[in-house]
Assembly symmetry: C2
DNA sequence: AATCCTCGTGTAATCGATTCCACGAGGAGG
DNA sequence: CCTCCTCGTGGAATCGATTACACGAGGATT
């Protein structure tokens, strides 16, 4: 039952544990004969080094932590996938934590990750900055923010800039004749929560349009909040002509609410969303959305973090998002299929 | 920079490391006074035990590995979420691995997990059984299969039985007048790949219907394969009236293919899927699907695994799946909203 | 031929916890 | 008053690796 250790390998190869360690780590000089015997012993015994012991000694785990805001959100899921892929290519593994958009759950995972002595942390903060994150950052834990970030910290940020895409969206909507535009925002404590509202408001201003308070629904990036916000919009004396959801889950909730009211999209009300996902092609109707270069973001984030860990100078990265027009805001659907460019 | 260790705590509290360890682990007897001082020192220093050292010594990590077949599949994502939740409640953490339906990637993750000395493994095998999985099972690694399994191994299985739901589906389809029914299958090397075809064929047989070879599309549970299989169906001299996709991603691919052909659902061709997801409510049209009690499965799997680890006798669990009728197979959509019961 | 490197190797300290064992103090029982 | 537990505590071994240091053998340099 006792799994085989380095001692067993050493014994079988007739060398010391030091030599075994040396061949395994391509260290220093080892005679070809000894190397041969060690390698033979290793796979005769099926030896696998104990990473716990190794990490304890070397003080590095070659593991990165990734705390994502919500696993049920396809955007984060795709992000997680690309992060893991890039990390693997660079010789790191990833341990995920899912925050479910709850700051206390986020902290739980960060704590666990830190306890495991991960080499670095990738976070998409669910709030404006828990003491835990702040302390970790100040204590010098290698850390990179992805998608969302916390201002005022010397931590590289990898994210997409949606403002130009939001301008395109508003231009599109305005061109279709819409004038009363509403937004379902994310939590103000998150950068993506507040920035998307600001970008939307600015874009409206360019057309001389206002964004009245009752046209800002407060959501939390989860489907249920999108539903509630939309119901509130629809109950208004003068409901908006367009609802723009700041993420895809709240768009799903909006879809629920609109369908429950028996309204049609886009005839009765138009819908657009931040974050494009494959399902938006097949919803009724296909949803106009702002697509982020998700895969690129994940890869860039990993590169930034490994740069930081390995002593190179990481750079913050901002990539542009882009508008993908479908038919949920009115007019004819675009001819042909509109596909996402991000693979 | 050297993070604080148990020695620092001991020094500050004026006791030995043994005593510190004892209060931290609620072991043996410690005087209230000493306990007090230790606790004070612990949070004055912000001490956190090094889990690597602890695990090395105790030979347990209180960590479970979960290898899922595909993170981009909402079914597995939901499974992962419930698994983590239940594990957390029981005092374990989860490390995920995403196999992307590729056996070699699955093996990579299992190897990594094993190297980390996880206490137990939850697997949804992407193939009929890699040597790695077989060896681990035989070597006595606590292991539980979830969703899919490998026959002939003494490993508990937690899964859903879809056969009765498939019968319901076929009855529904037959009742709508459909007679030429096709299926997009998963890889034959997976149990869910072959069982769903078998269940479908059996259900058809009850109505005196055949399942000809050209009506069995070979997929791999990924969207692209669903698209290809559907294109092949549509190119047949006598195309099927219904396509039943064995998972939701292949259904997405089928949707793509059907739309690209300019056909309408359900007038030109009907569609149904295994695995229900929130988006199916809002696709065009809403998709009739077989829903698994995903959350329950995840929780049961964790309980079985922890039973195994902690020396209790785990039990295999089979829960029923159920049919959720929407409008993608014809007829009127059900009145009211059809929601998923699984929270 | 004496000296000095270089090369290959082994011994032992170390990482940070847990835990067995021994030991002294104090109370109970005789 | 002596003996024997029990209780609280500390010393030191241990888990399985890595790696600094020492050392002996052999070749090269003078």
């Amino acid at each position: 039952m006792a799994s085989v250790g380095i001692k067993d390998v050493a014994a079988r190869a007739g060398v010391s544990v030091a030599t075994v360690s040396r061949v395994l780590n391509a260290h220093a000089s080892v005679s070809p004969a000894a190397r041969e015997r060690v390698l033979a012993a290793v796979d005769a015994l099926g030896y696998r080094p104990n990473t716990l012991a190794r990490s304890l000694r070397t003080d590095q785990t070659r593991t990165l932590g990734l705390v994502i805001s919500d696993v049920l959100n396809p955007y984060f899921t795709e992000l997680a996938r690309s992060v893991e892929e890039e990390a693997r290519a660079l010789g790191y593994s990833i341990i995920f934590g899912n925050a479910d958009e709850r700051p206390e759950l986020q902290d739980h995972h960060i704590r666990t990750l830190l306890d495991r002595r991960i080499d670095g942390l990738l976070v998409s903060p669910a709030d404006g900055g828990s003491p835990l994150v702040l302390d970790a950052a100040r204590a010098g834990t290698p850390m990179v923010f992805v998608d969302r970030w916390i201002p005022g910290l010397d931590v590289p940020v990898v994210r997409a800039d949606g403002s130009s895409a939001v301008r395109d969206l508003v231009a599109h909507l305005h061109g279709l004749g819409h004038r009363r535009l509403a937004i379902i925002a994310g939590p103000a404590a998150t950068t993506t929560g507040s920035e998307r509202v600001a970008a939307f408001r600015d874009a409206l201003a360019a057309y001389g349009l206002e964004l009245p308070a009752e046209y800002i629904g407060q959501g939390d990036f989860q489907a249920a909040s999108g539903r509630r916000a939309t119901e509130r919009f629809l109950a208004l004396p003068e409901p908006p002509e367009v609802v723009f959801a700041a993420d895809n889950l709240m768009a799903l909730g909006a879809l629920d609410a609109i369908r429950a009211r028996g309204l049609r999209i886009p005839q009765d009300i138009a819908l657009a969303a931040f974050d494009d996902i494959p399902w938006f092609v097949h919803t009724d109707p296909p949803v106009t959305a702002i697509a982020q270069p998700t895969g690129e973001l994940g890869r860039a984030a990993v590169r930034a973090l490994t740069d930081l860990i390995e002593g190179r100078t990481p750079e913050s990265v901002t990539l542009p998002a882009r508008l993908v027009v479908r038919s949920s805001c009115g007019e004819h659907p675009p001819t042909g299929t509109t596909r996402r460019s991000d693979a």
